[in-house]
Amino acid sequence: MSSDAGARGVKLDRSVEPAPGPIRDYDFPAVDGRSLPNGVRSVVCRAGDLPLITAQVIIAAGSALESDAQAGLATLTAASLEGGSRTRTGDTLAWDLEGLGLELAAWSTWDATHIRVTATTDRIEGALDILADVVRNPAFPPQEVERIRDEQLAEILQRGSEPRGLADDMATRFIFDDRSPYRRSTYGDQQTVSRFTATDTSDFHRTRFCPDVTSVVLVGDIDPDRGHDLVARAFGDWSGKAKAAPAVGVGARSDKTVIHLIDRPGSVQSEVRIGHVGVPRAHPDHVTLLVLNAILGGAFTSRLNLSLREKHGFTYGVRSSFAFRKAAGPFSISTAVGTEVTGRAVEEAFREVRTFIAEGPSDLEVANARDYLAGVFPLQLQSTEELAGRIAETVVYDLPTDYFQTYRESILAVDRTTIMDASAIHIRPAAMAVVVVGDATALMPDLEKIAVGEVIREGAGSADSVNIHGSEAGQHGG
């Protein structure tokens, strides 16, 4: 213990952690949403103190709309927007944007396609014109679509030899059953993607990118009225109606815990995924599960990380998460551990999960996790792009426009009992898909020794060569 005189002559006792000062209010900035006559939703949020505005277009068209034969098409369509519009070649589009310092990001998720640009305030009108052109009038020139398709195929190939991507893809395949789109990769696979042409991206765009399923979010240095005017000018004269979206069904592949061992000979480390079907974004337990997950494996000081990293030194890190989507996405634990400790690490992870469900967290753990989540919330909203991302979440999942105004209160209301009730339902150690990508010969004896579940040695180490749904992708039809 060390003590010394402080600045004002007061004895400083360093052994006592300083108390916090008076708490300062944080309010999520006001969000103003309106609908244009053609169905486009305009959402404007004034925020930040720099002359920056992020414009993000959100279209309710993602990978979940694909048939099995179309796996990877939403990803390809979003990527192919860079191919240009009816009035701009791809190269012209790139110069028009980047000459002004603008970077266009386009990506799709399971539930939506997002196109985003961040501009200085003086350039927002021009940026919105280009954004609208990209969203409304893409040309999908065959040469460009085929190029981007080939890059996507190369990416799929790369993921198959990259242990982290391979483990992620294998985990979803073993978690979800044949009717679940989520068993696929959003990149698709070699069979589906190699068949795509510019006609496929054009059709996807024509039937899915329509004003009635589109929202435009503006965040930053902008007055709401002016923001709505700008959105109306860029998107108000767009017409069309999106094809009805199919309902997404999701189910588990197995009701018992099985270890799937994928051989990657000579690996010095094993990529491990442990998971099962989770819950949809709209589930009433959503906020409870955020707090639960922070305690179990979401925070650095979570039970799993303190055990596997700080106590045992098995890993550089371990995290758990619920992927919240329109339908139930996966709950999964993800880590990479040394080959020689893989069996012990898997066993230890299961022990932590079982203990957590049986005994629940302490009141102190719950209070700490609530404070953590409520505290880091504003830290993660300092940029216009982070704010736009949160507002996009309200758009995609039909949450109230003012949802995040009361978010911190919702988190602070979670208690130990609700977490225990939720963990009993939503975390099921007896029905986990365990994926281990590593040196199978070295790992097999240890994995068989631990009493976690049957060990199945899967085929060669490539996502494409492991056929677990037993049918050609194309047979499901589109």
Partner: protein, 427 residues
């Protein structure tokens, strides 16, 4: 659009340099420390030690119990981390503004009173964690050792950048508690550190808190010079080539050029060149190797902001299936040669992108604090947070052409071919 970040800078009696920048737009505060020590300072046989030491800084100190550093900050609703690089080690947390004092107490305790809390068990645990980090980043990752291999080609064996930040397994194994103590006493002193605070606080209050927690920490001895050869000629003196067989699907080309160190006027040309070549969909290599010729799946270009002797411009391109790496390399060099007759619109595009990203980065208090610490540590000049972009704007098309003609030539480059094992090339 110009933005001016206000700041106040001073130096304490013990040599700690402090930079304060107030921004009340959100109730958050960033506390950021840079120590002027990185892997460049490691002695032979102890590669990776600066990074292992960084891990030990999170294991508690005299008044901070084991694991409390993480838990106190997370429970306060803050985020934290540290990182080690060739030239420096940084530690940072972003906190709800009313927890500023907590951050300062934690940082001061490990700067002043780390050693009483060190144990062999903690070292053994973090050594295992770091070895797993190496496996995760390098040994079990396709192309994961590229920077380690490239540094060996680009810097002579007695230069401090010859070895990687993560270090070797055997050197990690050899590290002892005595090494921790020696490293701490040598490099972790207020006179070798910069403390930056950015966010919602009162300047006078912050000053009194900093004084309260840091003034009792004594200044350390003079920092020893960086070991090894620190001066380098600005030519590699001949092309270096290596082929690496790995468990990968697609061949990849890496090319490094020796270039002037960060801080020299030519470094800003180097940064602009990297943007021209590899950043964005109108980048020279994107529009040729990817869009027109369909040889590559991706291209990346990066100017290393490092200060000892010489920097590197590093580029890589992954071959599409069916493309031979030799063909990709030939096309690549043709474009590098074309840079000697680059047009001004390429320069304007590059400068515009850097300007825009700079402004966007300044939105977070953590990034502002890190930049203030960086400019103070490397150049003793925090004002560069506002003036660095001017150095980028000053780069002309003639500068780019001259840079390409002088540095981006065969005799000044290292080339690495990563190829699938057993000569298997996917098609």
């Amino acid at each position: 659009m110009m933005v001016h970040i206000p700041f106040e800078r001073y130096e304490m009696q013990n040599g700690l340099r402090v930079v304060l920048s107030r921004d009340t737009s959100a109730p958050v505060v960033a506390v950021n420390l840079w120590y002027n020590v990185g892997s460049r300072n490691e002695k032979p046989g102890r590669t990776g030690f600066a990074h292992l030491f960084e891990h030990m800084m999170f294991q508690g100190s005299e008044n901070v119990p084991e694991m409390a550093h993480f838990s106190l900050i997370e429970n306060a609703g803050g985020s934290l981390n540290g990182s080690t690089w060739l030239d420096r080690t940084n530690y940072f947390e972003t906190l709800p503004a009313h927890y500023l004092e907590l951050g300062l107490w934690l940082e001061a305790d490990r700067l002043g009173w780390l050693l009483p809390a060190m144990t062999q068990a903690k070292l053994d645990n973090q050594r295992d964690v770091v070895k797993n980090e190496r496996r995760w980043r390098v040994d079990n990752q396709p192309y994961g050792d590229w920077d380690e291999r490239l540094q060996m080609l680009m810097y002579p064996s007695d230069h401090p950048y010859h070895h990687s930040v993560i270090g070797s397994m055997e050197d990690l194994d050899a590290s002892s508690l005595e090494d921790v103590e020696e490293f701490f006493r040598t490099y972790y002193a207020p006179n070798n550190a910069v403390l930056s605070i950015v966010g919602d606080f009162e300047i006078d209050h912050a000053k009194s808190l900093i004084d309260r927690y840091f003034s009792a920490i004594p200044s350390g001895p003079a920092i020893p010079p960086i070991p090894g050869r620190t001066q380098l000629g600005l030519s590699l003196g001949g092309e270096q080539r290596v082929t690496v067989e790995q468990d990968i699907s697609l061949p990849r080309l890496y090319v490094g050029y020796r270039t002037p160190a960060y801080g020299t006027p030519e470094f800003y040309t180097n940064a602009v060149v990297a943007q021209i070549l590899g950043y964005g969909k109108a980048a020279l290599l994107y529009r040729t190797l990817i869009r027109e010729q369909r040889l590559a799946q991706d291209v990346v270009a990066y100017a290393f902001p490092i200060v000892v002797g010489a920097s590197m411009l590093v580029l890589w391109a992954t071959a599409l299936p069916g493309v031979a790496l030799d063909d990709l390399e030939r096309a690549f060099h043709a474009q590098i040669d074309a840079l000697q007759s680059v047009e001004s619109r390429d320069v304007i595009r590059a400068v515009s992108l850097i300007e825009a990203r700079h402004l966007s980065d300044l939105q977070t208090v953590g990034e502002r604090a890190d930049q203030l610490s960086m400019y103070t540590t490397l150049f003793d000049d925090p004002a560069r947070i506002n003036t660095e972009v001017d150095r980028i704007r000053a780069v002309t098309v003639e500068d780019v052409r001259a840079f390409a003609a002088r540095y981006l030539i065969a005799g000044n480059r290292s080339v690495m071919h990563y190829v699938p094992k057993h000569g298997e090339v996917a098609s």
